[in-house]
């Protein structure tokens, strides 16, 4: 942090000599100290000077406090429950050391839990088993259930394949030319099969492909204005707590989102309302909706 002397800056700003600026500054300071001794002096946008116990004090204005706290705007103190506090503090410390956001830390612990069934030898848990608690007795039961389910699926697939083979060999559905569309109909997830039926003209296929249509649509989209200003109504170091606050405001405002941001190597979650193209627009909404917003709501520029 550098220490700046104000007379040269004042001279440049007022377009006067440094000597003249120093003289004007001396006059202003003398007046300011005299008034501070009696009832204090308030300089708009800067703060208030007072003489207390023979010592000059300065109380910065909210505007100045906000200005020097731009990187931390919208962040507010939050209560920690006695049991949750150490965990929160630990996660903060970890994130401060490794720059890992808290939600990633939580995810890694969840991954450890998910790893338990794998270590027990469970080959491939089906998707409908993911909600079960990953304890070992349940894992054994799940292993049996999974085996039965997989066996049933394999048996079903075998029967389908056998049926398809028999139908093709016996030509129950007429000539072989029509057999291709029936096969296509059994595989709906394949987009190329759907767009290229057996009787279509080969040369027309690339022109009617979905990707070409998508590209032309992308080219015609106008460039949207950058809406990087928002209003912060709450903040928390916990994503879940921020989401709770967002749910509260979600019933009253349209676009409520939780925006993570790294401050001092710690991730904070700001609850934001709206997106605006300029700070002026955001402040206008802040004023217009003051009755529905908290008193400490701040405008904030997203990074």
């Amino acid at each position: 942090m550098s220490n700046t002397s104000i007379p040269p800056l004042l001279a440049e700003r007022l377009d006067i000599s440094e000597e003249r600026a120093r003289s004007l500054l001396d006059t202003m300071v003398e007046e300011l100290r005299e008034r501070a001794e009696t009832d204090g002096v308030q300089l708009s946008g800067l703060g208030t000077f007072r003489e207390e116990d023979g010592r000059l004090t300065f109380q910065p204005s909210p505007t100045l406090r906000r200005r020097v706290n731009r990187p931390y705007e919208g962040l507010s103190a939050e209560s920690l429950s006695p049991s949750a506090a150490p965990e929160e503090a630990d996660s903060d410390a970890e994130s401060a050391d490794s720059e890992t956001p808290p939600f990633l830390t939580r995810k890694s612990s969840a991954e450890e839990e998910d790893a338990a069934p794998d270590e027990s030898g469970d080959p491939e848990p089906p998707s409908d088993d993911q909600d079960r608690p990953p304890t070992r007795p349940d894992a054994d039961e799940r292993s049996v259930d999974s085996f039965a389910l997989i066996s049933l699926i394999l048996a079903g697939l075998f029967l389908l394949g056998a049926g398809w083979f028999v139908v093709n060999q016996t030509s129950l559905w007429g000539p072989t030319e029509n057999a291709t569309p029936s096969t296509t109909a059994e595989t709906p997830p394949d987009p190329t099969a759907g767009s290229a039926p057996a009787d279509s003209v080969p040369g027309s296929q690339p022109e009617s492909s979905p990707s070409a249509t998508k590209d032309s649509a992308t080219d015609s989209e106008p460039t949207p204005a950058v809406r990087d200003w928002t209003i912060v109504v709450a903040s928390s170091s916990s994503r879940s707590a921020a989401q709770e606050a967002a749910d509260t405001y979600g019933s009253r405002f349209d676009s409520v989102t939780v925006v993570p941001g790294t401050v001092d190597n710690t991730t904070w979650y700001r609850v934001t309302i709206g997106r605006y193209t300029s700070e002026t627009d955001a402040e206008r909404v802040l004023d217009d909706r003051a009755d529905a917003l908290p008193s400490d709501a701040w405008t904030h520029q997203l990074e």
Binding site: L14, I16, L24, V29, S44, L46, L56, V68, A85, A89
Partner: protein, 68 residues
């Protein structure tokens, strides 16, 4: 060159201080004192068995000139 008014001086003084402090610079005002910005990191505060997590913040600190 026209001499600046008292309002001009106060406005310029305020703008310069705001700008310098917001960029992290300390400002020395002869006859008055030094303005600076100090960083306070995030901390856990306990009051009446209630723990609160305070976010990090910057604080404006004023040190009056001793001889003034």
């Amino acid at each position: 060159m026209e001499s600046p008014s008292a309002d001009d001086v106060i406005e310029a003084f305020t703008d310069i201080l705001e700008h310098q402090l917001s960029t992290g610079n300390a400002v020395e005002v002869p006859g008055l004192g030094t303005f600076a910005v100090e960083h306070r990191p995030s901390a856990v505060q306990t009051e009446d068995d209630v723990r609160r997590l305070l976010p990090p913040r910057n604080e404006v600190v004023f040190t009056p000139e001793q001889d003034a």
